[in-house]
Amino acid sequence: MSRISIEQVKHVAHLARLAITEEEAEMFTKQLDAIITFAEQLNELDTENVPPTSHVLNMKNVMREDVPTPGLPLDEVLKNAPDQQDGQFRVPAILE
């Protein structure tokens, strides 16, 4: 039984903001299915009472004084922008 369908792959691609062709959807379905099937070996382990690890060191929140400092200069920030206008990033129309 496959773990992920081509429809799911297309949905995931949409969530990840990736445009994929029909052929790519087929290829990724096959590959992701193999990887997910492989990953299901983790189900052999009983982890009912095991806490999850999100960070390997026993660190607490790191606090500091909230001191205002100058931000980055606008011309520097915009230097790499593909498109800009009036000191702002410019993007294509959001609504049709």
Partner: protein, 485 residues
């Protein structure tokens, strides 16, 4: 004979005695690059004009100053996922083909303060996702020991440049083996520090809970000198650890009398080639001869590390790589009528297939209905893997095994099946999952290809890792071998 046959401390000494100048060192790098980089293809971007100007400036300083640091005037190569102010940083991805960083990574600031000289930016697998540098969006880096073979990855450019004598040392990054595996394949020394030892500020994030920057060098001593400069707490990285940084070089005593070594049976079993196994057993004999003892142990959750790693690292990557959307920097498609199309086309045209595959795997593992079954499950298994290491380190000083199951494979040999490529990292991944430090040092040759010995230590105990690696290096001459190019 190249200047870079000398250790960094020897070069430092030559500078002191005024037998060489900083300009000589920088010229040596660019001369070697001009000679052989067409074959090796390690560098993506060169910093020649600035490097030569900086060398002149430092030579003037050298004329008057008596005391200067060990890295003063030393040429260094930087993996292209570490941001360098004013020097193009691409992560070997088309999506950042023209990115000109407006700030320096913390490690770069520290290198500048030490007066090291950046020679250029080194090729890698796109966004550090890969084990062969074949996933670069720009060029194919070749292994200096055999140009038909991969240099390993993802820091393949860094390891190849050091092995080929283009720079005395380089920085790489390691998320699942990306420093140690290419170091093993190219016959050089590569260390992944303890998670939190080196600031990640300015390292373009792949998997934030696993990524670490570390040194790739010709010798263990050079490695220790470089780590010394880049280590330590950084207010700009809240995961950098507030732990004292010891003097690493003073740990290189050559004395490992009474050292207790654990050798996991899972690291010499199925999947590891007989020749690699033999090289590691020979290395253990050398260490025994130096007064260490070793015993076989078990890391019982070893078979689960690949699955755990790919779920966690891909999940983190899917979030981290959301920022590449064509709005603020990098590539933007010309073929979009509205914002949503612009996002999708930009990302589809900008990312390669391995990156897309991992973003999708991560998006799936984090998506509603699958989060507990995949992502959270993997986080729980990570706890078990980490505990395996803690248990062994209660009784032993270091864990030793091979760095990779086989020596360098052929270009194109593993590109068709992602799982086959992933399996190559089975011995390095657990170190990242546990957050402990690990080094790869040369321990033999199989058919003319280098083999790496992996030495793994306790959290923040890079000193012991270095001490063992150095003692082994002094007792052998594998690190003195050089590829003929």
């Amino acid at each position: 004979m190249s200047l870079f046959d000398h250790r960094v401390s020897e070069l430092h000494h030559l500078l002191h005695k005024k037998e060489i100048s900083v300009s000589d060192l920088v010229a040596e790098s660019f001369k070697r690059i001009a000679e052989i980089d067409e074959k090796v293809q390690a560098f993506l971007t060169l910093n020649e004009e600035q490097a030569r100007a900086k060398a002149k400036e430092l030579d003037e300083k050298l004329a008057t100053e008596k005391e200067f640091g060990l890295l003063f005037g030393m040429p260094i190569g930087i993996k292209d996922n570490i941001v360098t102010k004013g020097l193009r940083t691409t992560c070997a991805s088309k999506i950042l083909y023209n990115f000109d960083p407006i700030y320096d990574a913390t490690v770069m600031q520290r290198l500048h303060e030490a007066d090291a000289i950046t020679i250029g930016k080194l090729n890698m697998d796109e966004f550090a996702m890969g084990s062969s540098t074949e996933n670069s969006g720009f060029q194919l880096t070749r292994n200096p020991w055999d140009l038909e073979r991969v240099p390993g990855g993802s820091s393949g450019g860094s390891a190849a440049a050091v092995a080929a004598g283009e720079v005395p040392f380089a920085l790489g990054s390691d998320t699942g083996g990306s420093i140690r595996q290419p170091a093993a394949f190219c016959g050089v020394v590569g260390l992944k520090p303890t998670y939190g030892r080196v600031s990640r500020f300015g390292l373009v994030a792949f998997a934030s809970s696993l990524d670490q920057i570390g040194p790739i060098t010709r010798t263990v001593e050079d490695n220790a000198y470089l780590l010394q400069v880049i280590s330590g707490l950084d207010p700009m990285d809240s995961t950098s650890a507030n732990v004292d940084v010891p003097d690493y070089v003073s740990a290189l005593t050559g004395d490992i009398q009474g050292l207790k070594i654990a050798v996991p049976k899972e690291y010499l079993g199925e999947g590891v080639s007989e020749e690699v196994r033999q090289s590691v057993l020979n290395a253990l004999k050398v260490l025994e001869g130096l007064g260490a003892t070793w015993e076989e142990v078990s890391l019982p959750h070893s078979k689960y590390v690949l699955a755990t790693y790919y779920l966690l690292s891909s999940s983190e990557a899917s979030a981290n790589l959301a920022r590449f959307d064509g709005v603020r920097y990098g590539y933007r498609t010309d073929n979009a009528k509205n914002l949503m199309e612009m996002y999708k086309q930009t990302r589809s045209e900008g990312f390669g297939n391995e990156v897309k595959r991992r973003i999708m795997l991560g998006t799936f593992a984090l998506s509603s209905g699958y989060y507990d079954a995949y992502y959270k499950k993997a986080q729980k298994v990570r706890t078990l893997i980490k505990q395996d290491f803690e248990n062994v380190f209660e009784k032993y000083d270091v864990i030793i095994g091979p760095t990779t199951p086989t020596p360098a494979f052929k270009i194109g040999e593993k590109t068709s099946d992602p799982l086959t490529m992933y399996a190559n990292d089975i011995l390095t991944i657990p170190v990242n999952l546990a957050g402990v430090p690990g080094i790869s040092v040369p321990c033999g040759f199989v058919n003319g290809l280098p083999v790496g010995l992996q030495i793994i230590g306790k959290h923040f105990d890079e000193s012991t890792v270095y001490r063992v690696a150095h003692a082994f290096e002094q007792a052998t001459d594998y690190h003195k071998q050089k590829p003929t190019l």
